[in-house]
């Protein structure tokens, strides 16, 4: 009798078709099976198709001669080089335009985001018009617009527009002066690096001393003096070799200075203006996310405006800003692939030429994807590290 009751009370094992564990395993096996079968089906089809079309798969083609020329290359390249070299040219071009784009878009976006919060009505409205306009027009359309403006509507070099002294905009691109090479610059860079390291050390020491004794040290001013002053001293020590390499009209084109091709200029401008409008909104949202009470508390503690911004508002705003900013940076890198539409030789553009010449579509596309995935992972890794540095430290 008692044994029977215990038997009834003891929970019965459900039948296997009702056991969540068994069901889970069955579902997963089914799901993986379907995915694998689909993959197998696609791979089989691809192999048959490739065999039928006599396309040899594999990455052997990378060692063959590319035999096409590339308009702009940061590393030495000639059509006699291999496809692999051409890929490297494309990769460096992509990284170059993405890096410049990220820097300038961050500057423009931050300025515009702050302008949208300005107490000045006119500035606020101008920034709003900028953000709303460029956010709502496709990037590709903007690229075509700038490119058409530079290629088609801009004058020939003889009648070039001159928005700033010695900066020329013509249908050959944008030409601007750069300082002429001089040994002084290498030493100045060294002095700058030295100053930066020294001021970092001083800052650390000042912080430790303030924590210990409460006495402050003007580490900001000293650091600024070191970082600006040391290179300046070196510069003067070399006799101030300030000779600019100014572009000059010679014949039908400019010589001297540094030039951005119309394609590069249009791509960079488009990326910066488009992404800047998104970054402006991110910055604005980040600063608005810090409640006004924080600022009031800072003022009650007697912090100056700069200290309030630096010590109280920004550290909290960055926490909100960093994650969406990461995806914007990734977006700039990925959007630089639109270069293929206006003929700037970025990675996708060169891979496209290669695929057309060799027919190695699968290899080409998988190489592009691998590169972008690697870049995405690297950027998110760095931004995650940075995010961890600014994130809220919770107990």
């Amino acid at each position: 009798m008692a044994a029977e009751t215990a038997d009834v009370l003891r929970p019965k094992r459900p039948p296997p078709w009702n056991d969540p564990k068994v069901r889970g395993i069955v579902y997963q096996v089914l799901f993986v099976g379907i995915v694998v079968a689909l993959g197998w089906f696609l791979v089989q089809n691809t192999l048959t198709n490739l065999q039928r079309q006599n396309i040899a798969s594999g990455f052997g083609f990378l060692h063959r001669e590319a035999a096409f020329s590339i308009g702009e290359a940061l590393i030495p390249y000639s059509p006699a080089d291999t496809y692999f070299r051409a890929f490297l040219v494309g990769l460096t071009n992509t990284l170059y335009v993405a890096a410049l784009g990220i820097v300038f878009a961050t500057i423009l976006g931050t300025v515009m985001g702050l302008a949208r919060l300005s107490s000045n009505w006119l500035i606020r409205k101008l920034a709003q018009v900028y953000v709303e306009t460029f956010r709502n027009i496709p990037l590709l359309l903007q690229l075509f617009f700038w490119w058409g403006l530079l290629r088609g509507s801009a004058p020939a070099p003889r009648q070039a527009w001159q928005p700033l002294p010695d900066v020329f905009v013509s249908n050959r691109g944008v030409v601007f002066p750069v300082p002429e090479a001089s040994p002084a610059y290498a030493w100045m860079f060294l002095a700058f690096a030295l100053g930066a390291v020294a001021s970092w050390a001083i800052w650390q020491w000042a912080r430790a001393r303030q924590a210990r004794t409460g006495r402050q040290f003007p580490s900001g001013w000293v650091g600024l003096g070191l970082i600006v002053g040391l290179p300046l001293l070196v510069f003067l020590g070399f006799g101030a070799p300030l000779k600019m390499d100014v572009p000059e009209l010679r014949g039908f084109n400019f010589s001297g200075g540094t030039a951005f091709s119309p394609e590069f200029a249009a791509l960079l401008l488009g990326l910066v203006v488009y992404s800047g409008s998104f970054i402006a909104e991110i910055v604005r949202a980040g600063i608005l996310a810090v409640s006004w009470g924080q600022s009031e508390a800072a003022m009650a503690l007697g912090l100056s405006n700069g200290q309030r911004m630096r010590l109280v508002v920004l550290p909290q705003a960055l926490r909100v800003i960093v994650p969406p900013m990461t995806s914007q940076y990734l977006g700039i890198t990925k959007n630089s692939s639109l270069a293929v539409a206006i003929g700037y030789p970025d990675l996708v553009s060169i891979a496209n030429t290669t695929m057309n010449q060799t027919g190695q579509a699968i290899e080409g596309i998988s190489m592009i994807m691998a590169v972008y995935l690697a870049i995405s992972l690297l950027i998110s890794l760095f931004m995650n590290l940075y995010n961890r540095a600014v994130a809220l430290v919770e107990r």
């Binding site: 089809n45 039928r52 496709p138 617009f145 088609g152 509507s153 692939s337 996708v348 592009i368």
Partner: protein
């Protein structure tokens, strides 16, 4: 008794600063500090330079009608070019005599988008509206029945193509995105791993590569003899791409559901699918409507990339119009016109999404 008031030197008391009126507004909003005054003056200078020049270019000196491109080159814009090419830009290579069909399609889409903005329509009824609407769109574009002549998809172009790619892309990507988001939150490790891999893979690469893959690699993937139309390939690429982004949006909503809701559903004895369908999704999806509208805006803008694989959407027809040798050098006018169309759609939707966000936050804001 000394009158204190007479002892003290009389300081004439200044009236308090004005808080109303134009002068006070200017002082408070434009000239409230030295820095702001400088900024205001700079901005005014910029506007004084830019606005008259822009108005002169776009209106005063503009040429509104011209027989050909040569006669249209002046100091101002050549809007005659846009007038001449208007039907090509909007409807592209669709047979000229049949272009009322894409026109109706565009109006239908605008009607459906406006209908979707109405709260009272949200729910199964809206899905019905879209299914019915898309069916009518299909009949009008393809033809071949009801006395309409058949039009090949390669001739579909212009604004209707942009709207179709974006709307169909969103409509099919949405269920896929929900499934991916649920998969990513699943307790089954294999399902979760595959969903995470898919989402991160697609989000890590540019849309162009997915479009290339669809246009170049998809034919290799299929058994020989089986071909898919180019438009459908681009559409599949857009769906697969959008789904990964939607999955992340939906995941945001899923993560915001309090655990108690799920426990309550379990306590009621609901199974996984019942719980998801009746308790989790209705709350999660309602929460993410504003970001979903934003996703729709980016999909709408992203469809312009299909010109890279040779389809003629709105941007493609603009580029096509620019190749006419009789009308050379009017790219600025053409792109500004196309930009205005894109802007109207995107600006309207982003305003709508901001309004929704405010409305949704009303309950939470103090």
């Amino acid at each position: 008794m000394v009158d204190i008031a007479e002892e003290l030197p009389l300081v004439p008391e200044r009236p308090p600063p004005r808080t109303h009126g134009v002068v006070a507004w200017l002082k408070a909003n434009l000239f409230n500090s030295v820095f702001n005054t400088i900024l205001t003056l700079l901005a005014l200078y910029f506007l004084a330079m830019a606005i008259p020049a822009a108005i002169r270019w776009a209106f005063v000196d503009a040429i509104w009608s011209a027989p050909n491109g040569q006669a249209c080159h002046g100091d101002g814009a050549c809007w005659a070019f846009v007038g001449e090419k208007l039907r090509f830009i909007l409807f592209g290579r669709f047979p000229y005599a049949e272009q009322w069909r894409p026109l109706v399609v565009v109006l239908l889409f605008i009607g459906m988008i406006v209908t979707s903005c109405d709260h009272r329509m949200w729910g199964p009824r809206l899905a019905l509206v879209w299914v019915g609407g898309l069916a009518i769109v299909g009949v009008l574009m393809w033809g071949g029945i009801l006395g309409l002549s058949y039009v090949d998809t390669m001739l579909w172009s212009g604004l209707p193509l942009t709207l179709i790619l974006a709307s169909v892309g969103m409509a099919f990507a949405f269920p896929l995105g929900v499934m991916l988001a649920l998969g990513r939150r699943s307790k089954l490790p294999a399902v979760r791993a595959i969903c995470v891999a898919y989402i991160e893979l697609i989000r890590g690469v540019p849309l162009i590569t997915v479009l290339f893959m669809a246009s170049v690699m998809l034919p290799l993937f299929l058994p020989s003899g089986m071909t898919i139309d180019k438009l459908l390939r681009a559409q599949v690429a857009i769906i697969l791409f959008t789904a990964a982004y939607l999955a992340e949006v939906v995941r945001g909503g899923l993560q915001a559901i309090p655990k108690g809701q799920i426990e309550a559903a379990d306590a009621l004895g609901l199974g996984y699918w019942q719980r998801t369908r009746l308790i989790v999704l209705p709350q999660a999806l309602a929460m993410v409507i504003p970001p979903l509208v934003n996703s729709f805006i980016s999909t709408f803008k992203d469809t312009s990339l299909v010109i890279i694989i040779g389809l003629f959407d709105l941007l493609g027809t603009v580029n096509g119009a620019l190749t006419d040798s009789a009308w050379q050098g009017f790219s600025a006018e053409a792109y500004i016109f196309a930009a205005a169309i894109y802007f109207c759609f995107c600006f309207f939707m982003s305003r709508y999404s901001q309004m929704l966000e405010r409305e949704f936050n009303r309950g939470r804001a103090r």
